[in-house]
Point group: C2
Chain length 465, copies 2
C-alpha cells in the first residue's frame, strides 16, 4: 500500500540512503564467508528481484535467516544503497528482517528454484505465476490490456460488454457449451420425449457466446464507435497448442467505416499496443528474448515500424501458386488459406505484415458484405510474420435485401429478426474485427503454447483450479 | 475515422467556419417557414446532438430532406457556424446532405421520438442504445471501466483474468449454472445410474464462476497487487430490480494488506472512479440529474468529498437497536444486515459512506480471517447513502491451521488443496474486495432497475438478443 514496490526501489524514484521496507518472496539465498547473506526478494512489480544484504549480527540470523528458502515471504527493512557487486545498481543493507511465511517442506516445494517444463507448470497453475516466465507473462497481459482500453478510450470508443450467455450462435459454428440449470437426473420432457427447455433457467436453450460481434453491431449503430473485450468460448475438442475452450477477445465495431478504414484501424491499433509493451515492459521483453525466443523484440519492433501491405486474396492465390513452395494444403481460388500459406505471404513474400482482403464469399460468415463481383466479400485477415493470422474482420452487410438473401440461403432466419432491424432502421456501412487476446500474448512473448498465455487454461478434460 | 465526432464539433477543438462533415442519426427534424429545415444529428460521441441547418435550395430538399424521420442515418457537410438561435453555441450550415439509411415504416419504428417506459425499452434492447438515457448509460459505463483499469494500472496492479468456467464453487453458494456439452437426449450414465461426467467436455462437472477471488489470490500471492474485472454468474431465480444472472465484477486482491489497508483502498478507489465520471461525463450526469434522479450529481460529489467512517459491526447493531426505527427485519448480533439497516446507518445516522467491519464469522465465507475474539471475522462492507452496500470484502485467512479448521467444519475440503498450497508456501496477510459493476452504474446514474445498467440483461426466462 506504500510506495515501496521494488519497481520504484530499483529506479531513481527513491533517493539512495533512504530507509526502505521491502515485502515479497525470496527468489534465492546465498551465504558469504564474510558474514553476510544475500537474499533476493521479488514482489511482482517488475521483472527483477532486489538484492538484500543481511549481516550475521542480526538477532534472528541463525534462527531464521539461515533457514530461508526459495518461496518464503519476508519483510525487510534497511538502507537503500549503491550496490558494490555486479548486476544491479542498488541493493538494501538490511537492519531487520522478518520471515512472514515459511515454505512447508522446501524439498517438495513444487516450484523450487530450478528449471521446470512449461508442461509441468501447467499442473501447478496456482503457483506458476511465482516463476520468472509467468510473472513476465502476467505483466505483459496487463500492459496489453491497459493499452487496449486506453487506445479505444482516447479515440472515443465505447466499451460494450456483450452477453456471455446467449440463445443464438453468431458464427453458425455449432460447437457450443450449453448453459443450464436443469436437473440432469430428472430432465423435463415434452410429450414427444424431447427435452423441454421451457423450464430451464432462461426458458429456452442457452449457450456460451462465441463472439460479441452481432450485439456490438447494435451498439455501433447507435453510438458509432464501440468495442468489446471479454471472454468467448469454443467447445471444440481439439488438444493442440493453439486451442483454448475459453479465451478473451477484442472486437471493435465502427459505423460509417468501410474495409479500408477497418484495415487502417487494425494496423494503427496493433502498432499502438505493441509500442506500449516496448515502452512499459522492456525488462520482461529482454527476458523473453534471452530465454524464450531470440526474435521477440525484433519481431515487435518490425511490426511497429513497418507499413502493412494490402493484398487481394486473388493475388495471394496467384503468388502462392507461382511460389514453387511445397505446401501441405492445396492452394486454389475458393479455398481458405492455411497457416503455412499465411506465413509464406507475410514472412517470405512480403517480409512484413500483410492485410489480405476480399475473400470468397463461400468460405466466410453470412454477415460479411458482398462485393460487386458477387462472389467475394469485404473480409480481411491481418497476417504477421511468425504466426500468420492475428486479426480477422470484415465490412458488414448493411443492405437488408442482400443480407436477407444470404440468411435465407443458409436457413438461419429464426433468431436474427433483431439483427435485421439494425438494417431496417437507419442502416450505415460499418466494419469491425476480432483479435484473440491470448494469441497476441503468445506473439509478443514468443511462448509457443496458448495454455501458457492465460492464467488458468480451459481445454478438453481440464478445468483445474 | 476522422476527427469529426460531434463531441469535437461542439467543443472549441475545431475553429468556426471550418468545413466539416457529420455522420450520424437524426434525432429530430423541424421545418421553418423561412425556407430551412433543422435536423439534429447524433453520433454517440457525447450527449448532445448537433443542429444542422438545411436550406430549401438543396437539390434533394423535397425528395429527401422533407422525408427525413427520427432514426435515419445521414452524412452532412457544411460550415461550422456560431448558432443564432438559443441552445448550443454551434451549428452546421449545410451545403450537402445524403440520407444513408432510411427508417422502414416510420410510424412503427420501435423507438420513434416519444417517451418510452424502461420496461418497454428492455424488449428492444438492440435499439435502446439509440435513446438519450441508454446512450448516456453506455458512456458512463465506458468512463467507469476506463477509470477502473487506469486506477489499477497507475498503481502497478496486474489484471488477472480468472476463469469463467470452473469446477469449484468459491462461495459455497450453490446456485450455479452448469456448463456442459453432454447430449441431453442421450446422457451417459455410470453403473449406478448417475450421470457420468467423465465423458463431458472437461471430464467432470463444470459451472460458471460466481467470483474470481480464490484464483486471484493465487496471483496476489505471487505478484502482490492484482485485480479481476470480468463477468460472474448467479443462477438465482429472483425476478427483482436488483438481480442479474450475469453481471460484471471488479475484485482487487492485495498481498501484505490488512483490513485497514483494504478499507483505505476501497475508499480511494471509489472516489477515483466517481471523480472520473464527474470530470469526463458532465453532460450525461446533467441529464440524469434532470430526468432520472435529482440527487445524481450531489450524491457523487458527496462521496468524493467525504471521509468514509469506519464502524464496528457490533457498534452498528447497538446503534440500530437504539435508533427507535421500525425496521422490517430483526436486528441482533449474529444476524446479517438488510438494506434498510445499511441505508439507515449511511444515510440517517452518519450521513456519509460507512465502512462496517468485523462481522460475525457465522454469516461470512470460509476464507475470511478469524479475529482474536474467535467469533468475528475481518470482513468489511462499504455502505453508501442511497443504496447501502456497494463493496464487500475482507482480509483473508492466511494461517493454514485456522483455515483448515474452517474448511473441515464446513466439509468443503475436496477442491481446495490448491488453495491450501497458497498458505503452505510463503503465506502472507492479504485482503481484497468485490464490487458489482452494474450496481455502481445504477448508483451513479440513479437508474432503479439493474436490467437497465447492462446492455443485454440476463434474468430468469430472458436471454434475448
Amino acid at each position: 500500500m506504500d510506495n515501496h514496490d521494488i519497481k520504484f526501489l530499483l529506479s531513481d524514484a527513491i533517493p539512495l540512503d533512504s530507509e526502505v521496507t521491502v515485502r515479497g518472496w525470496v527468489r534465492s539465498r546465498r551465504d558469504s564467508k564474510a558474514g553476510f547473506s544475500f537474499v533476493a526478494v521479488y514482489d511482482g512489480s517488475c521483472f527483477d528481484a532486489i538484492q538484500t544484504v543481511i549481516p550475521n549480527h542480526l538477532e534472528n540470523y541463525s534462527s531464521e535467516v539461515l533457514k530461508i528458502t526459495t518461496g518464503c515471504s519476508v519483510e525487510v527493512t534497511g538502507l537503500l544503497s549503491a550496490s558494490v557487486g555486479q548486476g544491479q545498481a542498488r541493493e538494501v543493507q538490511v537492519t531487520a528482517i522478518t520471515v512472514i511465511g515459511w515454505v512447508d517442506d522446501p524439498d517438495t516445494y513444487p516450484i523450487a528454484k530450478k528449471r521446470h517444463t512449461f508442461e509441468y507448470l501447467r499442473q501447478v497453475a496456482h503457483l506458476r505465476p511465482r516463476t520468472n516466465a509467468f510473472g513476465a507473462i502476467s505483466r505483459i497481459r496487463t500492459t496489453l490490456s491497459s493499452a487496449i482500453h486506453r487506445y479505444f478510450h482516447e479515440q472515443n470508443y465505447h466499451w460494450v460488454n456483450t452477453p456471455i450467455i446467449t440463445a443464438s450462435d453468431c458464427e453458425g459454428a455449432g460447437e457450443l457449451f450449453r448453459v443450464s440449470t436443469l436437473d440432469l437426473s430428472n430432465l423435463p420432457r415434452s410429450k414427444s420425449g424431447a427435452v423441454d427447455f421451457e423450464t430451464d433457467f432462461f426458458g429456452r436453450e442457452a449457450f456460451l457466446t462465441v463472439s460479441g460481434q452481432l450485439n456490438a453491431e447494435a451498439y455501433a449503430l447507435a453510438l458509432s464507435k464501440v468495442y468489446t473485450f471479454g471472454p468467448t468460448f469454443r467447445a471444440e475438442n481439439s488438444n493442440t497448442s493453439r486451442h483454448l475452450a475459453e479465451f478473451w477477445m477484442v472486437e471493435p465495431e465502427v459505423a460509417f467505416a468501410d474495409l479500408n478504414d477497418n484495415a487502417r484501424l487494425a494496423e494503427d491499433f496493433l502498432k499502438y499496443i505493441f509500442k506500449a509493451v516496448m515502452d512499459e515492459r522492456q525488462d520482461d521483453m529482454e527476458f523473453f528474448a534471452q530465454r524464450i525466443d531470440k526474435q521477440a523484440i525484433e519481431r515487435l519492433d518490425a511490426v511497429i515500424s513497418s507499413d502493412f501491405e494490402m493484398m487481394e486474396y486473388s493475388d495471394a492465390i496467384d503468388i502462392l501458386i507461382k511460389s514453387g513452395e511445397a505446401f501441405v494444403y492445396p492452394v486454389k481460388w475458393g479455398l481458405d488459406l492455411q497457416s503455412e500459406h499465411e506465413q509464406y505471404l507475410a514472412e517470405k513474400h512480403v517480409g512484413r505484415p500483410v492485410i489480405l482482403v476480399n475473400y470468397p464469399a463461400s468460405i466466410k460468415a453470412f454477415y460479411m458484405r458482398l462485393n460487386d463481383d458477387e462472389k467475394s466479400v469485404a473480409a480481411m485477415d491481418v497476417l504477421v510474420p511468425g504466426i500468420g493470422e492475428i486479426i480477422g474482420g470484415s465490412q458488414r452487410e448493411e443492405r437488408l435485401e442482400v443480407l436477407d438473401k444470404r440468411i435465407q440461403s443458409l436457413g438461419i432466419e429464426g433468431d436474427l429478426s433483431w439483427y435485421r432491424d439494425l438494417r431496417r432502421y437507419g442502416t450505415v456501412p460499418h466494419a469491425g474485427f476480432g483479435m484473440g487476446f491470448e494469441r497476441v500474448v503468445n506473439y509478443v512473448t514468443g511462448m509457443e503454447n496458448i495454455r501458457d498465455a492465460i492464467p488458468f487454461p480451459r481445454t478438453p478434460k481440464h478445468a483445474l483450479f
